[in-house]
Every structure is written in structure tokens, then in C-alpha cells.
Amino acid sequence: MKSYFKRGRFNLAEIIVDKNKCNGCGKCVNLCPFNQIIIVQKLAIIEAGCTMCGVCQELCPTGAITIKRERLSNEDYSNYRGIWVFIEQHQGTIKPVSLELLGKAKELVNKLNQEIAVVLAGDEVSHLVNDLSSYEIHKIYLVENKVLKSYTTDAYTQILVSLVSQYKPNILLIGATNIGRDLAPRVAARLRVGLTADCTDLDITEEGYLLQTRPAFGGNIMAQILCKYTRPQMATVRPNVFKKSRPCSNFQSPEIIKVEAKLNLLSIRTKIIEVIKEVTEVANLEEVDIIVSAGRGLGSPDNLYLVRELAKILGAAVGGSRAIVDAGWLSHHQQVGQSGKTVAPELYLACGISGAIQHLVGIQTSKRIVAINKDPEAPIFKIATLGIIGDLFKVIPLLIEDLKKIKNIV
């Protein structure tokens, strides 16, 4: 494991302003998303907060700005092969996001001509091998141990790091759940490799690198990221972004590789004392068919009953915008958006939600969006399948009443 700490010398990177080409026009000053360029004596100066995102390089009218990167490490990466998916299971059930990752892996593998493998870790999880065998997978790394019954950062990091070190995958994908977002950065830091969080798209470049697309600045911009100089190329992906892999019958069953968990119990430093399940009106926003969601337009938490009643008659779960969750009207389990949950229901019914970008990012994978809002300029109407400009205090009660009538007749 120690050899990994020698890593950390990835590349030499530099952002250069060509004094002869820069005419001090200042276009880059306005373009820089991070506000890190100033003009001093007709010359662009890059400041300390530069992230080397490359916007200035691309848009400089005189081509004066260049970002150079040169590889430093001489490690041979050709023996890193295969796309791995970490299977997240909870009490013996596979999380849907893992199957979504398998769906994407299937697309990527066609461009790479490598194998798909999964890591299945837990206590008494071998029955899941059968479930997984019906998907297009070449290998299953199965790790069973009592210690792995509940997720702990230390145990799962040890397992994943030792598997990666031994079998050298090219790509490692993990669901961006509360567990995945705890595990992935820990593993990446121990391996000293790059990691891209919350990807919304993955592809393979012509050179064979994993091209990772993710929203930044609350979804206002999308960034595309490569990790050319480290292996495995690691990414987390939000639930509900990709389509689930479908079981297929004519695929050869996967090779099962049982790996003994070499766990150092002393190094598991956290102890779970109790697990509490909270059954709320929303426990599974990521998995329901219909979500009725509330925004600031409701005016007061006292009016939430409108949304709750509408949800009840539609058999829906209740969600909400960041504004009202921050205000404490709903639990943050119910928060939808970039900083909350990404949802993909059949129907997303937004009541009094104006639609800040960060909210829209979290709902754009919904099949249909119906929005009720009194402001015709509300951004939510830009992505709504059906938008109603109107007073929700008049529309919703009437809608509930009419839906009730229909339900009684049918």
C-alpha cells in the first residue's frame, strides 16, 4: 500500500499568457467563471484561485492563453484493464444505482473492448451472485465477511483498495449515494488517483480515456473531466441518471472470483451502535413514480396540506425545493435538486417552485414535469411538459376536488 504514497506526481501543468499575443482586451476577465483574471498594464494576469478550467484558453480572441500539461509518472497503464462497478447492497438487496451503472458500463465496454467486472462485498451476499449473473458481466469479485455486514468506511476502503491493487481495473464506477460518496473519495485518496463526483454522463474518448461530464456551479455549467495520468479512472454517478441494465438470458455466466477479506479489525475505527430507519412520506423519492413537490410559492408551512393532499390522491411522494427545506418546512430527505436528490419519476408536479437551476438539474430526468406557478417568467416553465400560469391556491384545491370526484366514479 505504501507505494501508493510515492504517487502524487501526476503532471506538470501550467497556464501561460503570451505577452506578445495578449492585447489586454479583458474578454477573459468577464469570461472566467472563477473571477481569477485581472488586466495589469494591458496584460492578463492569472490569479491564485485559477482552476485551469480552460474557458479563457478556448475563448481568447488572440489565442494568447494556453494550458499545458505534461505527464510525469512513467507507470505503465496498459495492464490496467476492465470496467468495474461497485455493487452497493443494503441488507441483501442491490441498490438500483448499481444496475444503472451496469447499464452504462455495457455501453462503455463496447468502445473499449475490455471486460465488465463487479465487486460484491457484504455478509452472506452470495445469493446476489445469481441476481447479477443475468446481467452482462464477465467477472464477479465476491468478498464475504461478517465485518462487512454494515457499511463502514474503513472496512470497505480496505477491501476495495486491496482488490484494485491486485487486479488493476482501468475504470471504477461507484453510485453517488451517501455510502458511495463516503467511500469513493477515501479510496481515491488512498490510491492517490483522480475522482470525479456526481457524473451525469460518461463516455470513452478516441484515445480511450474515460470522459466524465458533471454539473458545476449548481448546474449552471457542465464540466468535462479526464484523469489521464492515474489508474483506475474513478467516478461516482448519481442515482437516476442512467438507465438500468436489463437482464439478458443469452449471455455467458460470469466467472466468480472469491476473495478472502483480509481485514485489519483494529483499523476499523468507527462503531455503529444503532441503525434507525425513518419512514417518512418520502423515504424513497429516488424510486417513486410520482412526486408532488412544494416551493416557496406556498407561502407558509401551514399550506403544505394542499401538496400533501394532492400527493395522497395521486399516490405520490412529497418533495420540496431547497428554499423550503432550508426554512425547515420539510425534512431534508425531501429536498430535490443538485444539493438534494436527483429524481426521475414518471411525473414531477411542481407547485409554487420557480425553478432555480440547481433545482432543475435534479428534476430534468423526470419523464414529465407539470408546473403550477403564478409567475409566467418562472424558469421552471422552460423545462415543464405542461405549465400552468396561475394561482396555486385556486388551482390545487379545485384539482383535488375534481380528482376525488373522478376517483369516486371510476
Binding site: T153, N178, G194, M222
Partner: protein, 261 residues
């Protein structure tokens, strides 16, 4: 008890918009704030310090203007502020940021490190765990409640899971990342603001870290942004302005056509 809170200065995201003509971020006049989750981290640090006695040190890495964010933390009641700022750190990704932070925080030898769940500009939630790993200490993420044992050696944390929460016990030192519901950050008092103006901020430059410079900034960053674009616009749907009665009729027709009701 020695507590370190890690903070980041971020743009007020609700004010950030896309210029419809150039399709780039309009950030003129967008105010900078302390990342909201980090305010909760600072608040929790202050609460623990007040209850169990100790000191709170706030640490940030960022461009010169981020000093303002540290001043605000001092005004809230933090004892010390450490400002890691140098052009050599430009282009740091989460791993390089966490590495740089770890070099500084190791020297401080804290019992507890508190970070916000994630920063609202990048939303990665990676620096916390990557920092814990590089410090070689344990981590508990998504924390919504903190209790510390009488002897100040153990900590009990409520960690949010996908369907509830778990109660976790561990020894100090530990790094935790916190949610908004953990607490309500205080406003700096006038006295606090005046005191903060007088306090010195310790500035750390790349040379102070005494490491191979290729491990810092963009050189030490394995991830590389190759392209930035504005997301594509969605197809426009049907937008109607109608009397409530007709509006309801339209919604119900839609639900029935789509077999949703």
C-alpha cells in the same frame, strides 16, 4: 479540545446566472459568501468549544479575497485563522486541495476536524474524506448530531443514511462532514466584528510547506477539466394561462392521457 473547521469561500449560487447571449456565467456583482455547510461546521466548532472548553481554528485555502471569509469566522468567535494562499496552489483539484490542507492541519494536531458536507459551487463532497485519508484519521460524513463523551476521548455521531440515520461511536481524532440541520449558525456580534479586525491571520505560502512543488496545485491534481459548456435547453412544453377551472381540466386530461391517473 482543539478543533479545526475547514471553510471555503463560494459565490452566492442563487445569484449566479448564465448570460443568454454569450452562454457563459454572469458573475458580475455576485457576492461571495462562506459555503453554507461550512458555516454549520464553524458553528458546531464554537458550540463544542464553549461546552467542553478548547479552541477553534478555521482554515481555508483560496485566493486573496477569501481572507474576508476567515474574518467572518473570527467575528463569529473562532480563536485563530489560517489562510493557505499562493499562486502555486492554482488549479488544485480535490485531491491536491486535501493534500495541501493535510500538510497544514497535521501541524495543528487537532482532536476534531469539521467540514461542511460539500461546497455549493463544486458540490463534490470529496475534500473531507480525502483530507481524512491523507491525515490518516477516521471520518464520519453526513453528520446531523454530535455528542462528546465526558472524558473528551470519544464522540457519538448521528450519520444520515439513505433511509434514516445511524448512530456511530468513534475515538478522537476524527474528521466529520456536517449537514445544515445540525445547527443554526450564529451571526457575528458587533463586538465580534471589531475584535476580528484586530486579530492576525496566519498566512501559509507554498514554500512554508516544504514539499516537492509538483505535488501542489495543478501539478498535483490528477483530474483535468478539458471542456466547459452550458447545458442544453429543454424542448419547450405547453404553457397555459387559464382560469383555474380550465387549468384543472387541462391537468386532468394530461394525467389521464398519460395514464397517470
Amino acid at each position: 479540545m482543539k478543533i479545526v473547521a475547514c471553510i471555503k469561500q463560494v459565490p452566492e449560487m442563487s445569484e449566479v446566472m448564465i448570460d443568454p447571449e454569450t452562454h457563459t456565467l454572469k458573475r458580475k456583482g455576485v457576492p461571495s459568501i462562506i459555503n453554507p455547510f461550512d458555516e454549520n461546521a464553524v458553528e458546531e466548532g464554537l458550540k463544542i468549544k464553549e461546552k467542553y472548553s478548547g479552541e477553534l481554528i478555521v482554515v481555508t485555502m483560496g485566493p486573496p479575497q477569501a481572507e474576508e471569509a476567515l474574518r467572518r469566522c473570527l467575528a463569529m468567535g473562532a480563536d485563530e485563522a489560517v489562510f493557505i494562499s499562493d499562486k502555486a496552489f492554482a488549479g488544485s483539484d480535490t485531491l491536491a486541495t486535501a493534500y495541501t490542507l493535510s500538510l497544514v492541519i497535521k501541524q495543528l494536531k487537532p482532536d476534531l476536524i469539521i467540514c461542511g458536507k460539500q461546497a455549493i459551487d463544486g458540490d463534490t463532497a470529496q475534500v473531507g474524506p480525502e483530507l481524512a485519508e491523507q491525515l490518516g484519521i477516521s471520518q464520519v460524513t453526513y453528520v446531523k448530531k454530535v455528542e462528546i463523551s465526558e472524558d473528551k476521548k470519544k464522540i457519538i455521531l448521528h450519520r444520515e443514511t439513505d433511509d434514516g440515520y445511524e448512530i456511530i461511536q468513534c475515538k478522537l481524532p476524527v474528521l466529520i462532514t456536517v449537514l445544515k440541520i445540525l445547527n443554526e449558525p450564529r451571526y457575528p456580534s458587533i463586538r465580534g466584528i471589531l475584535m476580528a479586525k484586530k486579530k492576525g491571520i496566519k498566512v501559509i505560502k507554498a514554500v512554508d510547506l516544504k514539499v516537492d512543488p509538483v505535488k501542489l496545485g495543478a501539478d498535483g491534481s490528477p483530474t483535468q477539466v478539458v471542456n466547459i459548456f452550458t447545458p442544453q435547453q429543454h424542448q419547450k412544453g405547453k404553457i397555459l394561462k387559464l382560469e383555474p377551472k380550465d387549468a384543472v381540466k387541462n391537468i386532468i386530461n394530461f394525467l389521464q392521457d398519460e395514464k397517470l391517473f
